[in-house]
């Protein structure tokens, strides 16, 4: 009984330790095979997808976002060539992001690379990312990734670039850009609905950041509450 129990426990521990990467790879393999079985992908297209993922891996880029993009494309019935093209663009964005993040001398984490790479898809330009990374003193990769997401959100809602520059320069220089600032674009949407000019929001944000405050303090500064910024009832919360 003791020997059997030992064997079971060892098998469980081994399965738990091995559950990560091999399981992920086998999941994608299964997804690609099913897509071929359902004639949504040709064998050549499936091979092309695998090639793109392998090239990303060889560049040292995080693998999971690429596999997730494949899952997304297949779930949406996107044609194989379009998935391959999306992966190629993604590989370029992630590699650029990694190189920019690493300029400060500290190696970025896979999560930093993914966040910053995704920001390039979500509206951040490469020039804007380069300029933020060039500020002195160099921001750590994690904070630069937050800045990238914040700027992408502001770009997406059409916030004036010069105002965005001011906010993020203040935040990066002070080293006080926390993850909550990524939702600044949402505050901008609500203040606009209340008739508050963008310039006033930018000034308040810079003031709050300089004083070491966070998004909560900015809400108070602008006279908003969490309830004010919640979406309408009956919708996605």
């Amino acid at each position: 009984m003791a020997r059997l129990s030992s064997a079971i426990l060892a098998a469980l521990l081994l399965a738990a330790a091995c559950f990560g990467a091999p399981a992920l790879a086998s999941q994608l393999a299964g997804t690609l095979q099913r897509a071929q079985d359902e004639r949504r992908l040709t064998p050549e297209e499936a091979a092309g997808i695998v090639t793109e993922i392998n090239e990303a891996r060889e560049l040292g880029l995080p693998r999971q976002p690429f596999e997730a993009k494949v899952e997304e494309g297949l779930a949406k019935r996107v044609p194989g060539p379009a998935i391959i093209q999306a992966l190629e663009i993604m590989r370029g964005d992630y590699a650029f992001a990694r190189d920019v993040l690493a300029r400060g001398g500290t190696g970025p984490s896979p999560d930093d690379i993914a966040q910053t790479g995704e920001s390039l898809r979500l509206g951040l330009t490469r020039q804007q990312l380069t300029e933020m990374a060039a500020l002195e003193p160099p921001a750590p990769p994690a904070m630069l990734a937050i800045a990238a997401r914040t700027r992408a959100g502001l770009n997406a809602v059409g916030f004036p670039p010069s105002l965005s520059d001011g906010i993020l320069c203040t935040g990066l220089s002070a080293g006080l850009l926390t993850p909550g600032w990524e939702q600044l674009f949402r505050m901008v949407q609500r203040t606009r609905a209340s008739g508050v000019p963008d310039a006033a929001v930018a000034a308040a944000a810079a003031r709050v950041m300089a004083e070491g405050g966070g998004p909560g303090e900015l809400l108070q500064e602008l006279g908003l509450t969490g309830r004010d910024t919640r979406q309408a009832p009956g919708r996605s919360n």
């Binding site: 997730a68 997304e72 949406k76 379009a82 505050m187 910024t229 919708r235």
Partner: protein
């Protein structure tokens, strides 16, 4: 009788008694007397039905001996199974929001749809377990779940094939395929989105 405990005289008495029995005359009505006693005896209980025997076996308390290592292995199996179950069924509705997650309700007006699911970055873009409920009276499809804080991209998948963005989303962004994803922001703590 435990004959090992008998003394020698007792054994002799037993032997002589048995010999005397053989010489005794039981009488002509011996068989009738025996059968008569049998007939007045209480009947043996009828054999139990199979189900009753099974139930009786299940209800009878038993002592199970397990080593500490065995119990640890059993506990590990149980935890792994529970973890897999919770991982596979993240869209399942429950009355209690897991710690660290915030309640979220997705709503889509699609009266002509036969089936709607939510797919997104929070469920690997897989519709299994994320089917929305339909209210025929209003034509609204809803799904309530719990998600971690942060930004999540998603779409509604209508009739298993057609992705549709959420008109009420905070933001709709390029999905990299030439179409759009909706963005959901989930805040810490009280579950409200920013």
């Amino acid at each position: 009788m435990n004959t090992e405990r008998l003394t020698e005289p007792s054994k002799d008495e037993l032997a002589s008694g048995l010999r005397r029995l053989g010489a005794m005359d039981p009488g002509p009505d011996f068989a009738a007397r025996v059968m008569g006693r049998i007939g007045t005896a209480a009947p043996l209980p009828a054999p139990k039905r199979r189900m009753a025997r099974v139930i009786g076996w299940l209800m009878e308390p038993r002592t199970i001996r397990v080593s500490p290592l065995g119990s640890l292995a059993a506990a590990a199996c149980l935890l792994l199974a529970l973890g897999l179950f919770l991982k596979i069924n993240p869209g399942a509705e429950s009355g209690r929001t897991p710690a660290g997650l915030s309640p979220v309700t997705f709503v889509l007006a699609a009266p002509s749809a036969r089936e709607v699911a939510v797919i997104g970055s929070f469920n690997g873009w897989k519709a299994a377990g994320w089917t929305m409920r339909n209210d025929p009276a209003t034509g609204l499809w809803t799904l309530t779940t719990a998600l971690p804080p942060g930004s999540h991209e998603y779409v509604f998948l209508v009739d298993g094939t057609t992705p549709v963005t959420d008109a009420a989303a905070a933001l709709n962004v390029d999905d990299g395929f030439g179409s759009r994803n909706s963005v959901l922001l989930v805040k810490n703590g009280d579950g409200t989105a920013l």
